[in-house]
């Protein structure tokens, strides 16, 4: 039975309508950014049609391991997250902030209205990460003008994860696998032997008008329940867990945990975990002049607490050992972030586990610290 599509209701989309959705957004002046296969990996890039999506592809992930596999079906979103998050678009790796001419004239860059971008395929963990970014960059007394500009014209089509990956633990961090807010449209993909469709949920009025515009019909109660069944099942498929119970206090009490020494033996301090993390926002600022000395430019680029110069202050770096750098990052993500921003800095996407060249797993590190604490208090 077909439902009438009222406010907060569900719509039915097939693969052709996904294509129409992309065209319609492009027609509205949006660059549509979605998942594509590049260099045997799924990354986000500009797309023009649904045929560019990673159809029938799955990502197999492990600590320090990522490979694509064929699924054996035609799913459009049958994978989880790749190495790059939406941070790349909202908070670009390199941004020119200002130019000072020799005569003292200052021009400020990249603070005007950002370009219109539609993100297709934003996962629940990634939406949570964007909301953390909003809090950090826009929420306090000091608003980041570059992020603010980039964030202004974003249309979000989220996708619920029906099959969490090997390194996903958003169920533990309370950030997934289904999206709860902050989207214009959310999709749940239904793939079976005889059907392939998407149940779209409206998240904003412009999301609703877009669905109406492309001629999507209301989803039937059967279709809605098929989608719901898949999401219920998704909850049972998580293999990775993080015990967040009292985690902040646990970490504060165990700053000298021997576990950090073990990790420091293995950690390369290469910064990969922070650079792939969808919530890590640290940057450095470089002043650049050319040979002619006509002007000086100020650039901001991604930096990491794993780089020694990151903690360089008068007299030298305050975190010269790898141990201190790992502990800084880990305790920030899972403890001090909570005091600073009211939520944990981790959204359970598992990128830091997958893209660590030596496969260090934050959930294992947390579990070990807890286990050692228990051991210590037992003796």
């Amino acid at each position: 039975m077909e439902e009438s599509a009222g406010q907060n209701s569900h719509y039915f989309l097939d693969s052709l309508l996904i294509d129409k959705l992309i065209s319609a957004l492009r027609g509205l002046g949006y660059s549509v950014i979605g998942p594509v296969v590049r260099e045997d990996t799924i990354v986000y890039d500009e797309i023009e049609s649904a045929s560019q999506l990673p159809v029938g592809v799955k990502d197999k992930q492990g600590p320090g391991y990522y490979r694509l596999e064929k699924r054996g079906d035609e799913a459009f979103f049958g994978f989880v997250v790749g190495p790059f998050s939406w941070k790349k678009f909202l908070y670009p790796p390199r941004v020119k902030l200002l130019t000072v001419a020799k005569n003292g004239e200052v021009s400020i860059h990249n603070v005007d209205e950002g370009k219109k971008m539609a993100f297709l395929g934003v996962r629940a963990c990634e939406l949570a990460a964007i909301s953390i970014f909003d809090r950090v960059m826009l929420g306090g007394p000091y608003v980041d003008p570059v992020y603010s500009a980039m964030r202004r014209n974003i249309f979000i089509i989220a996708v619920n994860c029906t099959e969490p990956g090997e390194n996903c633990f958003c169920l533990s961090t309370g950030t997934g696998p289904e999206v709860s807010s902050g989207y214009d449209i959310s999709l749940t993909e239904v793939v079976s032997d005889d059907a392939h469709y998407f149940v779209a949920k409206v998240g904003s009025s412009r999301g609703k008008s877009l669905l109406e515009h492309i001629g999507a019909r209301g989803a039937t109660s059967e279709e809605i329940s098929e989608a719901a069944v898949r999401m219920e099942r998704s909850h049972t498929l998580f293999r990775k867990k993080l015990d967040t119970d009292g985690l902040k206090d646990l970490l504060y009490k165990n700053l000298e945990s021997p576990v950090y020494e073990e990790i420091a033996e293995k950690c390369l301090a290469c910064a990969n975990c922070t650079l792939v993390c969808p919530t890590c926002f640290c940057t450095t600022v470089e002043e650049v002049t050319g040979l002619s000395g006509d002007a000086a430019e100020r650039w901001r680029r991604w930096d990491s607490c794993f780089n020694i110069d990151f903690s360089y202050i008068h007299g030298g770096p305050i975190r010269s050992s790898i141990l201190s750098r790992y502990r800084q990052w880990f305790t920030h993500k899972f403890a001090t972030w909570v005091d600073q921003f009211g939520v944990m800095g981790c959204v359970g996407c598992g990128r830091c586990i997958t893209w660590c060249p030596v496969g260090i797993d934050v959930t294992e590190v947390a579990a070990k610290i807890r286990q050692r604490e228990v051991e210590v208090s037992a003796t």
Binding site: I322, W355, C356, P357
Partner: protein, 255 residues
């Protein structure tokens, strides 16, 4: 206009590649000469302006007793001494002989080895004299050299990050080939500067820029073994242009 700072370019044991990188700054050479006086640069011109010099750029490692004396003279003659490239900064590919017996090699290479007078080891310039700045790379990145020269003119510190190549890969948008393809890569322990060229083309980093700050090479070597490299090869990955640099030098086979 104030006197242009005088630059001298010196060569020791090396392949000349870093000096060529200077000449390769084709579009910028005129601006360079407007701002600096190229006073001594035999690779470019036999015209020599007598020192002392404001900046000495040194290519090459110290491998003979003669060179060990010469670099001291050069140091005295240059206000600022900058080493350019892996040879001058780490001892170069020729430092591989530091693990062997030079006298033995010479018997096979030279008909009259008794004419050859060399030091026991090929060493970086900083083992012999104080160095003000070390620019890495085999060869150097010409734009990094330009940055050092621009910084000198502006009286500021050069923007030459000492972090890992991974930073460059991620900023550039390269996918990690070690994780996604299982290709051993020295990127995590290697000094940035090249712009992550090799990983962008699906090859592991060769470590041309030498060890970054705090290189934790041992677990990376072990990871290479896990990825299927025989132990000997995993160690040999660190034995290239920067083999003698602390951080790579200590990597050895383990039980």
């Amino acid at each position: 206009m104030a006197r242009r700072p005088r630059i001298a370019v010196y060569k020791f044991a090396s392949c000349d590649g870093c000096q060529l990188s200077i000449l390769d700054l084709e579009d910028e050479l005129l601006t360079i000469t407007e701002n600096f006086e190229i006073a001594y640069f035999l690779e470019a011109s036999r015209a020599v302006v007598k020192g002392p010099y404001d900046i000495g750029l040194v290519e090459g490692s110290i491998t003979t007793p003669h060179e060990a004396e010469l670099i001291k003279e050069i140091r005295k003659n240059c206000k600022v001494l900058i080493t350019i490239g892996a040879c001058a900064t780490a001892g170069g590919i020729q430092a591989l002989r530091n693990w062997g017996r030079s006298a033995e090699f010479m018997k096979y290479v030279y008909p009259k080895p008794e004419y050859i007078e060399i030091l026991d080891k090929s060493t970086p310039v900083s083992d012999h004299v104080p160095v003000d700045f070390e620019l890495r790379g085999c060869p150097i990145n010409k734009y990094q050299l330009l940055e050092v020269m621009s910084a000198y003119l502006a009286g500021r510190a050069p923007n030459i990050p000492n972090q890992s190549v991974c930073n460059e890969c991620k900023l550039k948008g390269n996918v990690c080939i070690m994780v996604a393809k299982g290709i051993p890569c020295l990127g995590p322990v290697t000094h940035a500067g090249c712009g992550a060229i090799c990983p962008a083309y699906g090859r592991g980093c060769y470590g041309c820029y030498g060890p970054r700050e705090s290189p934790n090479s041992r677990p990376l070597m072990k990871r290479f073994i896990e990825l299927g490299k025989p132990q000997e090869e995993a160690v040999m990955a660190f034995r290239l242009f920067n083999a003698w640099a602390p951080g790579f030098r200590e990597v050895k086979a383990e039980d």
